[in-house]
């Protein structure tokens, strides 16, 4: 087969491969790869190539690998020569070499080496490098396709790899799972939560596979979330599946979503923002199949966004939207305009958009849609125009209000110059008239008039059928049409001829006086027609309508047979039953089951045991345990740590989390299952030191400050200023502030309160009482404050001072917003000292302002004084309020200017707004 020229080339290449020079060999291999790429046969060179498999040159080696994988199947014996090289490479210290050796070894489709492959895979599955383990996961599928008998052993490896915590491996092993043992759902149980949690960090391709697998898994493990809102079509079906008693149980107990079900929905949601369209589609289908109906709307925007992508992506996404929009119009209705057709769209895109617009049509928007359709009808793309007419027909049948408008519009189109448009209109009008014929004899007359100009057979046939069917509405015109047709019968298309025969028969039955002769003439013509269908039909009709001895009983019923009322055709979308396939799959696109398609099961009536998914983890916190967390973040060290940590990825955090998970696993203790809703309170004292830039961010809780000030105005004499002895506050407000609402915290709520107690951990700290309560029905584990809380050096640092990590998977950023007053410690000093200090203006700044007070303030003395020191630095703060009705004079002396001005503002507003 090979040309002599080619042979000589082959000789050359062989020579080059056998030379000593690396560069020559490389050049030869490059040419060979070029041949392979073109699809030329280069198998002759196998022996010469295989020799180079152990080459030191990486590129040469890789090219040899390419060659081997391509031809090893054809040259099995020779391929065996290379095996030992790979076996050696499997032990190489370089992980890249180990991985690529395994890749090639498993890609060589030679059955003899199955045992070697099996061994290599088992070994690689326990390799230290996740990259090699990933390669092992890929090799599983290859081995399985080479030798399905190895299934059992491979499942063992899959089981082991499923436990792997590396994000690199997760996608590949799930792929292997899907290919080898998709029915072994039990392997997933223990890994379900881990997979959900890793999902965000898995590479995008793995995400798609995992999401599809988890969709299937969830449908077998959780009960349907769709029961409460029964707006959904499928619910009628559901009712069928649920037995009677089941229903009763449902009614008594409101549906509570399994937390694992919720976990899946929650962890996939961020992926809607992925740049990878396949991931977005995968998440969308997951929500479609798994989420409660009211949560479904979040996928709409993302799907519509995908429409901006490449043509091919649009095609698939539009198909899926078409299926969705049949069941849930509301989802896409706000985005209707995104489905408007542009003249530059490809034909299949146009038809899909039309389909969706038709699905979205309702009483409210139909006028807009019809106006849009009018533009499309005039399109130069006639096939598209025809499709539009069909769409109009669909809208007309679905929405009875506009049926007449549509009909009139379609009748206007009958005078269109383009044949396809006219033909399509006729066909659609025919379908529409069938639903309400009596009122529309005008239209039938109009069509009869146009009949001579219409040449498209399908349209002519449709008009004839209409004439026959409704001949009683147009008693004068129908015989005339038949007369015309008798003249042209021989020139008509077959489909038209059949309808002529039909029309003749019907007229004969209703109006035999006028049409008897015509009918006989036509039946004679039909009898000798070339087409046997027409001959058959003619013979049948003649026997049926013309009574003679032979015809028997049937002719009595001729009228009832031919003139029977016919049910109107249902114009329905081609995507009507597409939802039997999982969205986003190849089968859905093709609308037929592709090989390897895995059916999505129906929701189980009763949820299988949920404890199978429990991974045993020790709970660090038990009911009522008080946990003391101390996070010292001095201002300087805090900013340093934040800068060093900001470079490390947030992802690393997750790793560390999962690591801690393993540690905990070692000392396992089965978790008690709690069925009733249980609330537990954990008290945590968080001790924070607060430094001056902190104030910049403080927002005031005014009233508190005011009360606080008011109770400190009793002056007791403590003459020595230097000590600045702190006194205990007279009044501690019980009001606590919300740190984390239970809705945002997914069940965990947190409140904080300033205890105004000296802190036991250090003098420069403010103590804070944190009350955490669990409003969910399960135990929350491992609540701790994440160390990496500070996020930057700028103003926002404060936002993250207290970050609570609740449950293993969730992290909530919270911020504590104390009033300035909470950061002061009251001190006692005599009035004289107070004034002395106040006078000492060398070191302190003072702020004064006159404030009009709305209400009279009833202090006993005219001047109220407060002395305090800041907690962090111990600098003195003096506040005095002098009342000169109706105004108040506030004086604040402190070194801390910023704080002083804030304090002033707060006192001022407090006095103005609330009074004491």
């Amino acid at each position: 087969m090979l040309s002599p020229w080619f042979l000589c080339r082959n000789e050359d290449l062989k020579e080059m491969l056998e030379s000593n020079k690396e560069s020559l060999k490389l050049e030869a291999m490059k040419r060979i790869v070029g041949l392979i790429a073109k699809g030329k046969n280069a198998s002759e060179l196998f022996p010469a190539v295989v020799k180079n498999v152990a080459s030191k040159n990486i590129e040469l080696k890789k090219l040899v690998y390419v060659y081997l994988v391509r031809y090893a199947e054809e040259q099995q014996d020779l391929a065996l020569l290379s095996i030992s090289t790979f076996q050696r490479a499997l032990k190489d210290p370089n992980q890249l070499i180990r991985a690529s050796a395994l890749r090639v070894l498993s890609s060589i489709r030679v059955p003899i080496i199955v045992p070697i492959m099996m061994l290599a895979i088992k070994e690689a599955a326990t390799d230290l490098s996740p990259y090699v383990r990933k390669t092992a996961a890929h090799a599983i599928q290859k081995l399985f396709s080479l030798d399905p008998d190895q299934k059992e052993h491979l499942i063992e490896v899959i089981e082991k790899l499923l436990k792997d915590k590396s994000t690199l491996v997760a996608g590949s092993v799930v792929m292997a799972f899907e290919e080898v043992c998709p029915d072994r759902i039990d392997l997933i149980h223990k890994n379900y939560r881990k997979l959900c949690n890793l999902l965000v960090d898995v590479e995008e391709w793995g995400q798609v596979v995992i999401i599809h697998m988890l969709t299937r898994y969830a449908r077998t493990q959780f009960v349907s979330p769709w029961r409460e809102d029964a707006v959904f079509d499928e619910n009628s079906e559901k009712a069928f599946y649920d037995s009677e008693e089941e229903r009763r149980v449902d009614q008594s107990k409101p549906y509570i979503m399994d937390p694992d079900h919720r976990l899946l929905l929650r962890n996939t949601k961020p992926l809607l923002q992925s740049r990878n369209t396949a991931v977005v589609m995968a998440v969308s289908q997951l929500y479609w199949h798994l989420s409660p109906k009211h949560e479904l709307s979040i996928i709409t925007k993302s799907l519509v966004r995908l429409l901006r992508s490449h043509r091919e992506v649009q095609y698939i996404v539009l198909q899926n939207i078409a299926t969705m929009s049949i069941q849930r119009k509301g989802m896409f209705e706000p985005f209707m305009k995104s489905f408007y057709v542009r003249s530059t769209d490809a034909t299949h895109i146009k038809t899909l958009k039309l389909e969706i617009l038709t699905n979205l049509a309702n009483e409210a928007n139909i006028s807009t849609i019809l106006r849009e359709f009018q533009t499309y009808v005039k399109s130069q793309d006639k096939a598209f125009a025809a499709a539009t007419i069909q769409a109009i027909g669909c809208c007309a049948t679905n929405i009875s209000e506009v049926t007449d408008t549509c009909l009139n519009g379609l009748v206007l189109l009958l005078s269109n110059r383009d044949e396809t448009v006219v033909a399509e209109s006729v066909v659609v009008i025919k379908k529409l008239l069938q639903t309400q014929p009596s009122q529309h004899s005008d239209i039938i007359k109009h069509m009869a008039k146009l009949f001579d100009n219409i040449t498209v057979p399908m349209a002519r046939a449709s008009i004839l059928w209409l004439m026959g069917e409704y001949c009683e509405h147009v008693p004068k015109i129908a015989p005339d049409v038949l007369r015309k047709m008798a003249k042209t019968f021989t020139d008509e298309e077959d489909i038209v001829k059949l309808q002529i025969v039909n029309l003749a028969a019907k007229l004969y039955l209703t109006n035999s006086k006028q049409t008897k002769l015509l009918t006989q003439y036509i039946l004679n013509l039909g009898k000798y027609d070339q087409n046997y269908d027409i001959r058959d039909r003619t013979r049948f009709i003649r026997q049926l309508i013309v009574p003679n001895e032979k015809s028997g009983a049937l002719s009595k019923y001729a009228r009832r047979i031919l003139m029977a009322p016919k049910p109107a055709p249902v114009l329905q979308s081609a995507f009507k039953d597409r939802d039997r396939f999982q969205l986003g799959t190849l089968s859905h696109t093709l609308n037929s089951q592709a090989s390897g398609y895995l059916e999505l099961s129906d929701w189980p009536a009763v949820a299988p045991d949920q404890s199978v998914r429990n991974v045993e983890v020790v709970e660090p916190q038990k009911n009522g345990n008080a946990v003391k967390v101390e996070s010292r973040s001095e201002s300087e060290s805090g900013s340093e740590s934040s800068s060093s940590e900001s470079s490390s990825e947030s992802r690393s955090e997750l790793d560390s989390d999962s690591d801690s998970g393993t540690d905990q696993k070692k000392n396992t203790k089965p978790k008690p299952k709690t069925l009733n809703i249980m609330t537990k309170y954990i008290l945590i004292h968080i001790v924070l030191s607060i430094s001056s830039p902190f104030f910049v961010n403080c927002m005031c809780s005014l009233l508190h400050l005011c009360v606080f000030l008011a109770c400190q105005f009793d002056a007791v004499s403590w003459p020595v200023r230097v000590s600045l002895q702190a006194s205990s506050p007279v009044f501690v407000p019980e009001t606590s502030h919300e740190l984390l609402h239970r809705m945002t915290g997914k069940g965990l709520s947190a409140q904080y309160r300033f205890t105004r107690q000296p802190c036991i951990y250090g003098n420069s700290m403010v103590s804070l009482q944190l009350t955490l309560s669990n409003r969910t029905d399960q135990a929350l584990e491992n609540i701790h404050i994440s160390e990496k809380s500070s996020t930057g050096q700028n103003i926002h640092r404060f936002n993250a001072i207290g970050e609570l990590n609740t449950t293993k998977e969730d992290e909530f950023s919270v911020s504590i917003q104390p009033a300035v007053g909470e950061l002061l410690l009251p001190i006692t000093m005599s009035e004289a000292d107070f004034t002395k200090e106040q006078g000492n203006t060398n070191t302190s700044y003072w702020h004064a302002d006159e404030t009009p007070t709305n209400q009279p303030i009833h202090f006993s003395a005219c001047i109220s004084r407060f002395a305090g020191k800041t907690v962090s630095s111990g600098s003195l703060v003096l506040v005095s309020v002098a009342l000169k009705d109706p105004d108040a004079m506030i004086t604040i002396n402190t070194e801390k200017t910023v704080m002083g001005s804030m304090l002033l503002r707060q006192v001022k507003t407090a006095l103005t707004n609330s009074g004491p």
Partner: protein
């Protein structure tokens, strides 16, 4: 997953094939060729073509079809997205992804495909990783390689693959550290006959070119992040930070990448920067048609509208067009009936116009639809949605980078119905 890949050029030749599992005969492409023949335009080829034993999923980029052979169930978007990623990678490596470029670099293409897929499942698609595995061909490197015999193939596993930031290669060093961001917004609009807007949307992207040493951690904040209605991110962006604070915080990949694409909420009114006055008419019975088109700026916030290009598919009955533009040049292809007018810059004082007559086929009836006009334009230094970047900060590295932000507004699918 993906079984084989065939690259087919516009004239229907298979010029490259690659198989990841056992070899699939190239005769499977016959089904594809049939579909191409049935479709009138190359764009009309259905992306998914079923055959008795396989399924062909194809994408068309730069007049090259990438046909993937699938044997069993796989999400079609998975394959489509991957094929586009392959094309993007080729473009990244060779500048363009044409038949010639692929043929010239067959070996690199093959090495790339080998790395990107293993057994039909994507392995490494991140450009930073691939570039560490296989160095892109440059003229200098080709020369050096032929002399020294060194190779394009890296010897070590890219560390990025294993790290927590798999998209960034390690050991990046630059003497000039710079980070540039381009905010590009496209207006998709349909304008009706009377000039009123039927639908208009803004789609934007932020493309970045980051050349920074080490492991920089960047944060980018906007003046008005609420504008962004729907966003999709490069995997490097920390989603939680965005959710909480509407700040983009990320360790960037090295080189060019798309940081973000967004959609501006459709509730906002879109400023349409250009108006088109048109008068295209055909008279019944006459073989002449009139054609008049004037463009003018509207709501451009004082910025010049540049690189304006008007194109229109005239009705089939039009034989020729005899037009005179007040500026720029126009062409009319009598075969495809495509009229295109390269206007250039719109001068508000002297509005560009294109006037003249069209000759119609004699005896043919008047076309019943006027052509739609597709418009392209560019406005520099303007993001039409009003999106503004507030600041860009870098953490984790000591040096001071050079930062730059550019805004641009373009016409996306901008159509005027006449």
């Amino acid at each position: 997953m993906i079984h084989s890949l065939f690259l087919v050029n516009a004239s229907g030749d298979i010029f490259l094939e690659k198989h990841w599992k056992s070899v699939v005969s190239r005769s499977v492409c016959d089904y594809f060729f049939e579909a191409v023949e049935r479709a009138t335009e190359p764009e009309n080829v259905p992306p998914v073509i079923p055959t008795p034993h396989h399924c062909l999923i194809n994408v068309l980029r730069q007049r090259v079809y990438f046909v993937a052979v699938i044997q069993s169930e796989v999400p079609p978007l998975f394959v489509i997205e991957f094929l586009h990623r392959v094309v993007d990678t080729f473009q990244d490596y060779f500048g363009v992804c044409t038949e010639a470029a692929v043929k010239d670099n067959v070996v690199v293409v093959y090495e790339l495909l080998e790395e990107m897929l293993d057994n039909g499942f994507p392995l490494a698609t991140e450009s930073n990783i691939l570039k560490e595995l296989i160095k892109p061909p440059t003229i200098l490197r080709t020369v050096v390689n032929t002399i020294t015999g060194s190779t394009n193939v890296g010897e070590q596993l890219p560390t990025g693959q294993l790290s927590v930031v798999p998209w960034r290669r390690t050991g990046v060093k630059y003497t000039n550290n710079e980070a540039y961001f381009d905010v590009v917004e496209e207006i998709d609009a349909i304008i009706d006959k009377s000039g009123s807007t039927i639908t208009a949307e803004i789609q934007g992207v932020i493309d970045a070119c980051v050349k920074l040493t080490g492991m920089p951690d960047l944060t980018l904040s906007f003046m008005n992040p609420r504008l962004l209605d729907d966003v999709s991110f490069h995997p490097c962006v920390r989603f939680k930070r965005w959710e909480a604070e509407r700040i983009l915080s990320f360790v960037p990949p090295d080189g060019n990448f798309r940081l973000l694409s967004y959609h501006v909420s459709s509730q906002n009114l879109v400023a349409i920067p250009v108006y088109v006055k048109h008068n295209i008419s055909f008279r019944e019975g006459s073989s002449q048609g009139r054609f008049e088109l004037t463009l003018g700026p509207k709501q451009t916030m004082g910025k010049a509208v540049e690189s304006v290009l008007v194109s229109s598919q005239l009705p089939r009955g039009v034989l020729n067009a005899n037009l005179s533009p007040s500026q720029g040049t126009y062409t009319f292809d009598p075969v495809t009936k495509l009229l295109s007018w390269d206007v250039g810059k719109i001068n508000p004082q002297k509005l560009p116009s294109l006037k003249g007559s069209m000759s119609l086929q004699t005896g043919a009836s008047k076309p019943d639809e006027n052509p739609t006009i597709n418009l392209q334009f560019k406005i520099q230094q303007l993001a039409v949605s009003g999106l503004k970047v507030n600041r860009l900060d870098m953490y984790g590295e000591k040096y001071k980078p050079f930062k730059g932000i550019k805004y641009m507004t373009k016409a996306g699918k901008f159509q005027v119905r006449t």
